[in-house]
Structure formats: structure tokens, C-alpha cells
Symmetry: C2
Subunit: 269 residues, 2 copies
């Protein structure tokens, strides 16, 4: 049995309490450095592996300070506050003196409460009836994912004459099957192309600046999903003066909203 590429990318060696060593892997390389989602996942893993942790992930915000260079990195984890219901963590990923990323993570206790889903899964064709698209070679990490776009597939070959809609919907999962867990959900939460690609077409220098993912699932919800595709939706608000925002939602095959999130990204021109 071979180790899944995501598990290789998220592997961490403990150095001391709250200090870990990891390394980039070639599988998830993006235009400059690793795909942001795999950085989110390895940061989250440093909290998941922490023996002070009492509960499951609720939120992770990752700030991409500079591109991670191929090779090893270290992650420092600080437990800022440990309460009855919630733990707050801050993280810093470094290569030598360079801060590659910072993150904050919240973990929390989940028990039965009032329950209501206000955002129903959009009514779309089932995944099996939607063709999967080949990953564009320039975005190497996409070879690790299977995307079945329902709408809003970005056109990377050249800019569009008029802006296209900002919304994309796609069935998505790991190309090499792997049962959904917190790590893969964290990575997928950054899987959609930046909305500027969808709206404008073409490809200019760009990158996520800050990304927040909220885990709305319980462990049971993840277990129910297994290796089936998630339905993802991404939408954007404004593209102006180098910055754009976007929001994402991810539903399991049975219609449960498993995660949502938001990010702000930078584009060059």
C-alpha cells in the first residue's frame, strides 16, 4: 500500500512540544511554491497531532506571508487559551528566519444542540453524469484533484472580452481516492481557482493572501462521506486595486454542509 500524496505532504516529525518539522513534496506544487490548501492542511495537522488538543477543528485561518521554498520547514504551535468548550491556537511556519505563513486554529467540543441547515445543496446533476476535466499543466497540484465543473470553469488560455460570472460549482475530490477527513477538507477548501481567473480569464501573477475555513461537520459527517465527491461552490464580490474576495461552501453527497469559508487574494494587474 502506497502512502497517499496528501499524507506525505502533511507528514510531521515532532521536535519538541508545539514544534514540528515538515517538508514540501513535489505533488502539490502550484505556480510559486506549494498549493495553499496543502499548507493549510499541514498547519492543521500540527494541531491535530498536538497531545494538548481535546476536540475537533472548528476554524483555521491561514495567512500566506511568502512562498514556501521547496524543502524542509518548521511549524511552531502556541496554545493561547484552553477552555471548557474551545481551544485557541496560533501557528507560524518558518524556513530559517523567513516566516512562510501564520495561522490561527480553533478546536471545539461538539455535542447535540439545536440543528438547522439554512443553505441547501444546490440542485445539480449527480457527479457520475458530469465529465471530469483534465488539469491544466500550469497548475500542477490540480493533478491531485478530480474536478467536475457544473458552471464557472475558468478559461486560462486568454482574457475574456467581458467579465464572466464569478460563481463556480463543481464536484470535487482527491484524484487518488482517500476517505474525507479534516486534512483533506482543509486542503479542498482552497481548491477552487481564484475568482479573478473565472471572471477575467487568462492567468496573471496572483495568490491567496488570507484564507479562513470553517468546519461545520462532525466526525460522523466526515465518515458518512468517505471517498465520494463533494459539491463545492465559490463566488466572489469585488475585484479592485489588486484585491479580490471569495466565499466557498462544500456539501457532502447527502446534502450536508460540511464546510464554508472565505478568502482575500492579491492579483498583479
Amino acid at each position: 500500500m502506497t502512502t497517499h500524496p496528501l499524507d506525505l505532504a502533511c507528514a510531521l516529525e515532532p521536535l519538541s512540544q508545539g514544534r514540528w518539522r515538515g517538508a514540501t513534496t513535489p505533488d502539490y506544487m502550484n505556480m510559486v511554491g506549494p498549493f495553499g490548501g496543502v499548507t493549510v492542511a499541514v498547519l492543521l495537522n500540527a494541531v491535530l497531532q498536538d497531545d494538548r488538543r481535546t476536540d475537533t477543528p472548528v476554524a483555521i485561518t491561514t495567512n500566506f506571508c511568502t512562498g514556501t521554498k521547496p524543502g524542509p520547514f518548521e511549524i511552531d504551535v502556541t496554545l493561547e487559551r484552553s477552555g471548557k468548550y474551545l481551544q485557541h491556537w496560533t501557528l507560524r511556519q518558518v524556513q530559517g528566519d523567513t516566516v512562510c505563513s501564520t495561522a490561527t486554529v480553533v478546536t471545539g467540543r461538539r455535542t447535540d444542540t439545536f440543528s438547522h441547515q439554512a443553505a441547501p445543496m444546490p440542485d445539480v446533476p449527480v457527479a457520475a453524469t458530469v465529465p471530469a476535466q483534465a488539469a491544466p499543466p500550469v497548475l500542477h497540484f490540480l493533478q491531485q484533484y478530480e474536478f467536475r465543473f457544473l458552471e464557472g470553469q475558468p478559461r486560462l488560455d486568454k482574457p475574456l472580452e467581458t467579465p464572466a460570472q464569478a460563481r463556480s460549482r463543481a464536484w470535487m475530490r482527491d484524484a487518488q481516492p482517500r476517505p474525507l477527513d479534516w486534512l483533506s477538507l482543509a486542503a479542498l477548501s482552497d481548491g477552487f481557482p481564484l475568482r479573478i481567473m473565472t471572471v477575467r480569464g487568462g492567468l496573471v501573477p496572483m495568490g491567496t493572501v488570507s484564507l479562513s475555513t470553517y468546519f461545520l461537520a462532525t466526525q460522523d459527517d466526515l465518515d458518512a462521506q468517505g471517498t465520494a465527491p463533494l459539491l463545492g461552490e465559490a463566488d466572489g464580490g469585488r475585484f479592485h486595486a489588486h484585491f479580490q474576495d471569495q466565499k466557498v461552501h462544500f456539501w457532502g453527497t447527502n446534502g450536508t454542509l460540511l464546510a464554508s469559508g472565505a478568502q482575500v487574494a492579491w492579483f498583479k494587474q
Copy 2:
């Protein structure tokens, strides 16, 4: 001329580079401790006042670790990375040994680029034709705001028999007029009631866990807004096992999307 309550709440005394002292003020008290938005604003102010800062705010994520007690607090600011286009900051607000909140801030250079707004302002009646609502006494800080709900006004008197829609729309601004700036936009970004109040009605113990605000405006956009009301929209996805997500958008009176954001909140039962 009296000082505006928001400026009193955001006032900071410099202790050394990247270290500030502030204090809670009675004006913005919520059920437990200060209203989250005023914490976001005072944290942002510690970056705005920093003489290492080169550009305007792009993003702030605030994690509410524990309620701030009435009285003084200190804020530590670390400049993690200073690049040509972006600066990354991390902050920690403390009272003695207790971490009240942590935050990450991104500031960035804004110049002319491709520009497009994908999220139009909803077609709603102008603010002057919509009555302002009295603030419920239990949420004291709301006396600092003028809300004109267009839909989704929460019912705090008792739980609803069936869940209401998660979406709210309202015209909103400072009750005591103050021209819009980064601080007031930061505070307003947490101004909507938590979606659980709107969906379920009634009032149970609850609080924002992590909140991210993205500034999509330029200084010119803020100047154009002045003291006029913003149109705000808040919506939520799922309420389950103690946690709920919500997304917000804020448009200026002229239809420009000035900010968007997201948060995850905890509720007790």
C-alpha cells in the same frame, strides 16, 4: 467637540514599538464583555498606528479567546513579513496573563488594476424610507448603532416555532454620526446579530469565535461614503453541534462593495 465613542474605545497609548495599552469603555458592552466589533477595531488601530505600516488594511481575522474584562488591556503587534506589496501582522490582546484575543492583519498597496464588482447591491428601498429600530436593552452596544432592517430582524423575546430565514439585510451606521473609516468599517463588520438569533429566535449564551473581515474599499471609497448608512447583508449556512457560520457583505450608498467577511460562532444549546 466631544470625542466619538468609537474613538474613545479605540484609543491606544504607546508603550514601546509594537506594544500598546488600551481600555474597555462602557459604551460598547455586550452580554459578556465588549462587543466583538470594537475589539476588532482597537486591534486594527494598533496596526494603523504602527509607524512601520506602509499601506491600507486588506484583512483582519480576530479570534475571541475569552471575554475581555472591564478595564485596561495591552496589545502586542508583530510584523511577520514586510514585502513590496503586502505586510503581514500578528497581534495578541492580553489582560495580565490572560490572552483575550489574537488577530492577524494584512495591509497592502492599492493601485489601479482590472476592476469589476460581481456582487451588485441588492435592490432595496433607500434608507430614509425605512424606520430605524430601537436597540434591545440586553445588547447594550447596539445603542451605538442605527439599524434599519429590511428583512431578517431577529426576534429576541422567545424562540420561534419553526426556523426563520438566515438572511438579514439592514441599513446601518454609527448612531452618533462619524465619517466612515477603516475603524468603523471594522467594527460594523461584526455588527449583525449572530444568525442563530435570527433563525431560532430567543437568546441563549453565544459568541463569535473567529471573525474575518476583508476590506475591498480604497480610501477614496471610504471618503465618498461619509456618514451615510451602509447596506449590510448577513447570511448563514449551518447551525449544528454548537457551531454556526455566517457571511457578510457591506455596500456603500452608491452601490460599491466596501467590505465582506465571514465568521464562525458558538452557541450553547
